[in-house]
Symmetry: C2
Subunit: 379 residues, 2 copies
Amino acid sequence: MKLRTCPRLQPLKESIRFLTRKPAQFSDGSRICKRTFAGHTTAQQACDALVYNRHGHYDDVLQLEKVLLPPVGDEDLRIKMLAAPVNPADINMLQGTYAILPPFPAVGGNEGLGEVLEVGSKVCDAKPGDWVIPVDAGFGTWRMEVVCKATDVIPVAKDIPLLSAATLGVNPCTAYRMLKDFGNLKPGDTVIQNGANSAVGQAVIQIAAGMGLSTINIIRDRPNLKELKDKLKSLGASLVITEEALQKPEVTNLFKDIRRPKLALNCVGGHSAGNLLAHMEYGSTMVTYGGMAKKPVPVPAKALIFKDINVCGFWMTQWKRNNMHDLSEIKAMVAELAEMVRRGQLSVPTCTQVPFPDYKVALDATTRAYSSKHVLMME
Amino acid sequence: MKLRTCPRLQPLKESIRFLTRKPAQFSDGSRICKRTFAGHTTAQQACDALVYNRHGHYDDVLQLEKVLLPPVGDEDLRIKMLAAPVNPADINMLQGTYAILPPFPAVGGNEGLGEVLEVGSKVCDAKPGDWVIPVDAGFGTWRMEVVCKATDVIPVAKDIPLLSAATLGVNPCTAYRMLKDFGNLKPGDTVIQNGANSAVGQAVIQIAAGMGLSTINIIRDRPNLKELKDKLKSLGASLVITEEALQKPEVTNLFKDIRRPKLALNCVGGHSAGNLLAHMEYGSTMVTYGGMAKKPVPVPAKALIFKDINVCGFWMTQWKRNNMHDLSEIKAMVAELAEMVRRGQLSVPTCTQVPFPDYKVALDATTRAYSSKHVLMME
């Protein structure tokens, strides 16, 4: 695994808890005001940030604090954060259960949109007013401002909706890569997915439709089922069916009108993943990118041996790190997704906007089932 | 999937039960004497064979009968069977639960060694006295003689023990392909496997040792544990441990002296497969080639997403069929394995030899746990 060497935003490491660090200094050089610089803050130097110094429930460990920003170096940018989603991975990171964990003190949030305020003298590919999003996880987006290396962010077009830009870098990228890199898909092929109403699921439906693929979309039963089915169909879903309906014998009739899936996308695990496997084509691939049910994927030996099904995983963070030596592929993917938004092929995600100081509302909602995506708005 | 077109030995097909055939004629053209040719049999024309006409328990469906052989055509061979193993897959085929099933009436047995008796006028790469083994599954090896296309068999060296030659075409080939084709293994790498005392497991230990690989071999606890450990170590096993010991915390000490496995070979499934996954290296591969526990492989989402583990299957029959258009690779593999036998790097498997008429003894034993491999001996 190739990790960046970056003096400000240190690369995250597994078992990062074993690192010894000065407790009140952030990896980007910013410091908590009230502890070390109380009375010295100015408008330029300080900003609000959601800070945590230990792992646990966010109610216990996350606090809104003033932190001092370091000076802007030659290769740096100063960025005003505009919006930052709250994702389940952010909550897991606070709890200390995610695969990578930042050193303490840490700022919460991995995803978000910022506007460039100030540009270091040696930075030639950014200017004040540009929109940017973080390249890597662990950026700490839940803050009003940040100073970082110019290479820690990539540009995103300003002529798309702010909420699209703020949520482009993780979920649509995950959908895009899984559809492009697995299953060797051609127009007319079929993709099956569970958790089809998730942010990734909705992006899969839309990007797949643009690629000429059929999608079979599995959702949980719920009171407003017809409304959700209609919504997903309006995004381009070929079929939307519940987990329960997928297990009925008559479901085999589906495959009279639509090819068996060459690719299955699983973010649930347990029985739900097993149900996907039962319908897949010979020689197909199941990609797991989440485990909402917190149960393993049960893979029958016969599916592996006689149906030659391949079971693997995808993690956007790792893909980005594998491509960190040359940002052109990441930039091209984000530019292509922005173009899809511009053409109306990738809709603005359904988000609940929450003012930054009301962050607890967003965190509470993110831990609830059937909740929409919540985004912290900094202005 | 490419299937051979062969007028005598028809390619097996999934759901072959739906094929309509004349009931008393075999796919190789031989016929059951007692039904159609009673009184016409001669030494040349007829032989004993273990025949079944429907699926079920072998006690109910398998019978020793006389069948008539067809004449030897220009491209054919007449072969005297010398020995034929009884494998679990043969039992599943009789039961009708295997992935491929021959048309009725069928002769049991997929693996075995034959000696060429008679050669068709257009066959130039075989002569009487040669030893041959079937290329494809479904050959029907549980019989005294057979007439087949010359391309339905490949040669095997006569200077290795008869039992090695009779058991070379399935289990050692499976071990060989899994070690060569998965995990991109280099000398010094580690392979972990369960069912390490199986015929495939023993071949894995020996072939891996020849490739400079370490092996961690998982077996079930049993009364004669030390004896079995010593035997597997004498074959070249680096470590032999029980399923129970693998789950103890102190097992992590193993990985101070030996690298974490890049490849896991699973023929059990269920918890046993899960235990293998827990110890694998980042980016490693688990290949499933059996499912003795009859339980799915439970794959945690974290193993797929954060450890980038790939879970797939291997089926020797399918590999052979994929390579049927050009037999050179199959022939080369068998020749290389025979050379390992000759050099003492691949031992004669522990087999119980059973006279052909006592076939029920061998079938009973094959369905029992902890039983050795049983081989029907035709002479």
